[in-house]
Structures are given as C-alpha cells and as structure tokens.
Amino acid sequence: MVELTEVTKYYGPKRALGPVSCEIVRGDTVGFLGLNGVGKTTLLRILACGLRPSSGRVEIDGFDVLRSPHEVRKRVGYLPETPPVYRDMTVRDYLAFSGRIKGMTAEAIARRVPEVEERTRISEVSDVPTGHLSEGFRQRVGVAQAIVHEPELLILDEPTHDLDPVQIMEMRRMIRSLKDSHTILISSHILPEISQTCDRLLILDDGEIVATGTEEELSGTLARTRRMTITIRLGGSDGTDRTSAGAEAAIRGVTGVTRTEVTDGGGDRAVTFEVESEEDLRSAVCRALVEGGHEVIALARSEHGLERVFVDLVGGERS
C-alpha cells in the first residue's frame, strides 16, 4: 500500500527527514512514534502529498507522489495536527465542500455526509459552524473530512492533540472502528496512543526510522539490556549478613551485572531489586544470593514495556 525508498526532506540546509525506507501493507494500522521535532509530521505530509520530498521515492497504491499526485490524493485522507476546518462554515457545508474538492459527485456527497457524521458522532452538530465547536468535536469533524471520500489510506497526525481524557478515549474508539475499512497511519509522541491503537510501530529519531515491529517484537528483541526483579527476605538470626546492602553486594559481585537498584525498600521485611545485565543472569544471581545466605522469595524477568524501549532507542542518548 505504501512504499518509501530513501526518502529525505531538507528545509534549507537542515535535514528534517531521512533517509527513510519502509513498506506498509494494506489493512495495517501503523503508528509513527517519536519525540517532537523528529520528522513525523514531515513524513506524513509527504505521504499526504502536501509536501514534496527532497529526494527518494514514495509510492502509494502503486502511484508515485511526484508523478501522479492527484491519483495519490484521491486515495488518501489526511487529518493534520490542527483540523483544517473553515470556521465560518457549518459542519454539513464543510463536509460537502471537502467531498466536492476531493472529486465526489453531488449524489455521493448527499449519501456520504450523513454517513460520516453518524460514524464520527457529529450528527447533532451538523448545522453548527465549526468555529463554535469544542476541540473534541472539531477533531472529529477533521476525521470526518479525512474519510468523507472513502480513502484507502487514512493519515492521522497527532489525532488526540489538545483533547481532554474523555475525548481521547472517544477518539481511540473511533480510530479502532475505522481499522476494518482503512489502512491507517497515526503519529504521536504519546506512547499509550500508539500502543493502544496500532498493530505495528515505527520509531523515529532525528528524522530516521530507528526501529520497527509490533510492540511485543520491539519489547522482546530490541531492548539493549536484560532486566530482572528479585525480592529477598531481610533479617534473620543465623549470623549471615541478610541486609539490603549485603544482598546488593552479592548481586554486584556477579560477573555481567551492569546495574542494581532497590525498587521496593522492604516495608514488610523484604527488599526488591531491579537488576540489569547484558545477558540472562537469573540463575547466577540467584545462586550468588543463596550462597551468601539470603532467602530469595521472588525472581522474575522484567517485561520491557514500550516506554522502556522508546526511552532506550530515542531518549537514552540524550539523558
């Protein structure tokens, strides 16, 4: 559905994007995740044919964005970060205008506008000027204009931007409801946004894709470090050093351990450590603790959440 080959975008001498290469198949819901200013919006605007790449090749449904921009635009629905609504027009008139400008016939508009109003739950404000709407409604009107012409590819740039928590939940629900009829690309710097709505993730940093895969794939294979949590019981009267400091020293003594941190101070006479290593050292750490006289009551491999992967990939070098 979408194919990018060595795509770059420069603003003057400054590289904003690329080189970026990736492929997105029909029916996928893909999230572009990255900090602010890493090139997400630039990439999405190139895909929406609102901006020309400086170099490289972009094909959507077999059509090149430079050679056949109109064919691409007919197949793409785009919601920018700020919904492109004319504030002097009513919702119905605006959606009809959006349909007309995207090449729909009068009959198709008459059929489709009530449909998208229903689907995006804006029927009740159909006769209200968009300038009088709340941010949440305006964002939904933005989604409605993006799908009014039934595009195969739907591009949503920060769709929950400026929404309150209730509106964010409604927007997520709406996006999930659109997954069966569109290939969807979503950009966000908010992790839950992406993880809760997308099948696949592309993580961008400094204009380049630094990782791609499902959340599980990224968590399982891309994390640079192995983490475990281990809980030991404190105290005792057998003469061994069953203190937090003693346990920490025993863990640090294991070759390959790179970091040890107390995550739970042990209110009920137990202490929990998070231990990082470059390989799986669960058995070695456990053995060292037992040999030191400590009583291990829990040991688990930490799941690398998306947040940790994201920080590792794009945040670690900056912190």
């Binding site: 609102g50 635009r73 920018p80 700020t82 400008i101 090449g103």
Partner: protein, 243 residues
Amino acid sequence: MGATGIIFRREIGAYLRSPMGYIVAVVVLLLDGVLFYAVALGPNAGQLLSGEALKGFFYNASGMTAVAAVALSIRLIAEDRQTGTLLLLETSPVKDWEIVLGKFLSALAFLWGITLATAYVPLLLLVNGKIALGHILVGYLGMLFLGAAVLSIGLFATALTRHQLVAAAVASVITGSMFLFSTLARVVGAPLSFVLDALTLHDHRWTGFGSGVLNLSDAFYYAAVAYFFLYAATRVMELKRWE
C-alpha cells in the same frame, strides 16, 4: 463544477459570512460618495460639465477600487495558511493554479459587486446631466481591469506569507510603487524613465478609461499585470511545497 468553481463558491460565501467583506463595502461606498461630493463636484458643482464630474468620480473611485482590492485580497491564501485549511486544498486533487484562480475570481466578483453599487453616482449624472452611456461603461470596465490587476498583486503577496499584515504591507508597497512609476519616470533619465512610464499602474493608463475612451493597449496592460502576478502566486505556492 471544477475545482476553481468549488473554491470560488466557498470564497464568495466566506466574504458574505465574514464582517470583513461588509466593512470593505461600507467604507468604499461611503468614501466614494464623500469624494464625489467633496472633490469631484467640489465648490464649482454648478459650473462643472457632467462629463468632467464623471471623470473626477472615476478617478477617485479607481483609487478606492485599488485600496479595496488590497483589503479583499490579503486574507485569501495567508489566512488559509495560518489556520491550516490550505492543507485541505493542498492534499486534495486540486492544482495550485486552480486554487489561485478560484480565490482570485471570488475576490474579483465581490469587488465588482461593491464597485457596481456605486453606479447610483453616474446614474444621477445621466439623469440630471448630459453624459454618454459609453463613458459610464468604459469607466466601470477600467475599474474592473484595474481591480483585477491590484487583486492579483494582493494574491501574490498573500501567497508569500501566513501573516495578513505582512501580506497587506507587501501588496501596498508593490501597488503604491506601481502607481508612482509615472511620477518617478519624470525624475529619472532614459531608458529607465521609459520603462517606469510603461509599467505605471495609474496616471496615463487610467486617463483613457476615466474619460470614456477605451484603449486596448491599456486593457491589455492590466490583463498582463494580472496574469503575471497570478502566475507568480501559483509559482510561489508550488515552491513553498519544496521549502
């Protein structure tokens, strides 16, 4: 209906829904009336020939038309760029020239509507004096041409920036300079004086229209200016996608 027509309809609606259009119309009509009474008729109203009064009216009205054209044009693309609605157009199957032409024609139609509303002045002269209908028609045709030329300058300025005040300043400087070219031509030597004189937007370019004489070269000049700046506006929009 093509994209140009769709954009034309949307922009005409925007003029009619916003206070800006009405403010421009009221100010132009008021000042045209005041200028006609105070300047064109002046203290010698009783001795003035009707044709002379009409010529004076068209001279003042042409200046007001130019001011109104700048005021109406500066929002056309800058506002869309500022509010983000230009993205809707740029990501739709619409060519840049269709956007420019649709917006230009809508502003021209609105300007023409305001200008025609001043027709009560020449009609008063027609009823109470002795003037040729052709003089009135040629005068209004001249305002249509001049308005089109200045609107295209404004459209070019508004394509350059997202700030309407900056667009207004750019459009005013270009239009004002071109109005003054004939004055400048008198103080500089040849061949620059010939160039400036040929490019002037008013003065001798307007004299024929104001007097009821249709010179095709003047009409062609205004049309060429309009074409040049509309083409430039389209190119600016294309180039901004490469920025």
